[in-house]
């Protein structure tokens, strides 16, 4: 019997996969860390990942005015998911920045914000849907515009969570990274234009294995009259889980307990 030989047609090098080190363009300070992958998200794009505990995602603004609507579910038990009210009331906050923890409805830290150049990310969960998008910007559909079509945040998130068997009922209030919405004494929202600038970033450490789904469609309160979603860069590296002297653990006693509850899931 003739032995098999490797031919020139057999893929043999990493270069056969188009996975360039994109992070070097937008997060060069990660050199020396073990970057696992990186990605450029086009404006209005959507994607999702299953990400292990002990990794950290750098999310970088590549163009002024970016927004990233993100939802998180436990990969192990998808009924456990990010819970906006539980996270806000536990930390007595209506914005997110370094030190804050995104908590699940089961009292655990799904992810922690370990670095942040901005100081404010919007937790109110407002999401652009197709009807509002059409009313605000007009229609731009695939047949005429191909991949220049308008994409809404709600549609993007529904597509992504659908990949894991999750449906409309499971679509939770997202975190709108890079957006800022304030509330006045009467309770009214005010969207703060010009908040995120190219070069801004946030680091999100995963304290559990999570499904992260996101859309880079505009924030629904963004007053920009044309549909002009902005690009975002992503880079994941192996950071290790929260150490004992972690900044987020020490930020509030509530956060220490939520991280403790997550640690109790990973005893092995």
């Amino acid at each position: 019997m003739e032995a098999h030989t490797i031919t020139a047609d057999t893929p043999s090098s990493a270069a056969a996969v188009d996975a360039p080190e994109l992070w070097r363009q937008f997060a060069p300070d990660l050199a020396g860390r073990s970057v696992l992958f990186s990605e450029l998200i086009p404006g209005g794009g959507h994607w999702s990942y299953v990400l292990p505990r002990g990794t950290t995602l750098r999310i970088a603004v590549l163009e002024d005015g970016a927004n990233l609507s993100a939802v998180l579910y436990s990969a192990r038990e998808k009924l456990e998911r990010y819970n906006m009210p539980d996270s806000l009331k536990a930390q007595h906050t209506a914005h997110y920045t370094r030190g804050h923890v995104l908590m699940s409805d089961m009292g655990r830290a799904l992810a922690s914000i370990t670095a942040d150049s901005l100081g404010w990310h919007d937790p109110f969960g407002l999401l652009l849907d197709d009807a509002r998008m059409a009313e605000k910007y007009g229609e731009q559909r695939y047949q005429a515009f191909r991949n220049g079509m308008f994409r809404s945040g709600r549609t993007g998130l529904l597509i992504e969570i659908g990949k894991y068997g999750l449906g409309k009922r499971d679509l939770i209030a997202p975190v709108n990274f890079f957006s800022k919405v304030t509330v006045d004494d009467e309770g009214r929202f005010a969207y703060v234009p010009g908040h995120a600038k190219a070069g801004d970033f946030v680091d999100l450490r995963f304290d559990m294995e999570v499904i992260l789904a996101f859309s880079s469609a505009p924030h629904p309160l963004d007053p920009t009259p044309t549909y002009s979603p902005k690009r975002v860069g992503l880079a994941l590296w192996r950071s290790g889980p929260a150490p004992a002297d972690d900044y987020c653990r020490a930020f509030r006693p509530e956060n220490a307990r939520a991280l403790h509850n997550s640690d109790m899931l990973y005893l092995a």
Partner: protein
């Protein structure tokens, strides 16, 4: 409706003509069907009692009250007279037609054994909670609703202001004995209630009390 200021309005409906008049004891759940066109009144009998409510479309319970859709459409966070509660499908579910309290919370959510471990102490986990009420009511009703449907709820009679610098505060209650809120159902509604049993913070003035539910047919 864009402003979220306090708008007090009294109702002329007479409790003697209500078709349902039910008092939910402190700390207990309640599941009630309300027909389109009916008016529902929730009464804070003894004052400063958080009544945690989620609304579902009775014909398709996968459609639920959406805090984010409601907030986006009214442009602010508090509910009062004139506020329309929207579903995740952007359909109007209920309209607040009278309100003698003036402010109701949309952001504080419902307490749970698990969130109590985070907010207070790990050893608080065996105390009764709204999430337990929700779960047992849905288990017993067996109508195809479960934990995934426990979305951010309305906290009637609770005051949870957001400050200009982005802090969430738990202010003294604006409610008092006998204050009520009245809602007209814009579709057939399944209402899931937890009369909040939280004892670890002042949301119920450390003394959970009963709440009264009245329903009137359209005149």
């Amino acid at each position: 409706m864009t402003a979220s200021a306090i708008r007090i309005r009294e109702s002329s409906l007479d409790p003697a003509t209500a078709v349902i008049d039910h008092t939910v004891p402190a700390g207990e759940p309640y599941l009630l069907r309300v027909q389109r066109g009916q008016t529902l009144r929730i009464v804070d009998l003894e004052g400063n009692q958080a009544v945690d409510v989620i609304f579902y479309n009775a014909d398709d319970p996968a459609e639920h009250y959406s805090a984010t859709e409601t907030l986006l459409r009214q442009g602010g966070i508090y509910l009062t007279t004139g506020s329309v509660l929207y579903s995740d499908e952007a359909h109007p579910m209920l309209t607040i037609v009278a309100d003698t309290c003036g402010r109701h919370d949309t952001l504080g959510g419902a307490c749970a054994a698990e969130s109590n471990t985070v907010r207070y102490a790990l050893q608080k986990k065996f105390m009764h909670s709204c999430r337990d009420n929700y779960l047992i009511a849905l288990q017993e009703a067996d109508v195809g609703l479960g934990k995934r449907d426990l979305v951010p709820n309305v906290n009637f009679f609770m005051n949870v202001p957001v400050t200009a610098d982005g802090q969430l505060t738990f202010a003294d209650g604006v409610s008092a004995p006998g204050k009520y809120v009245e809602l007209r159902a814009e579709m057939d509604i399944l209402m899931l209630v937890s009369n909040c049993p939280q004892l670890n913070n002042p949301c119920n003035a450390y003394n959970p009390t009963p709440a009264r539910f009245l329903v009137w047919n359209p005149v």
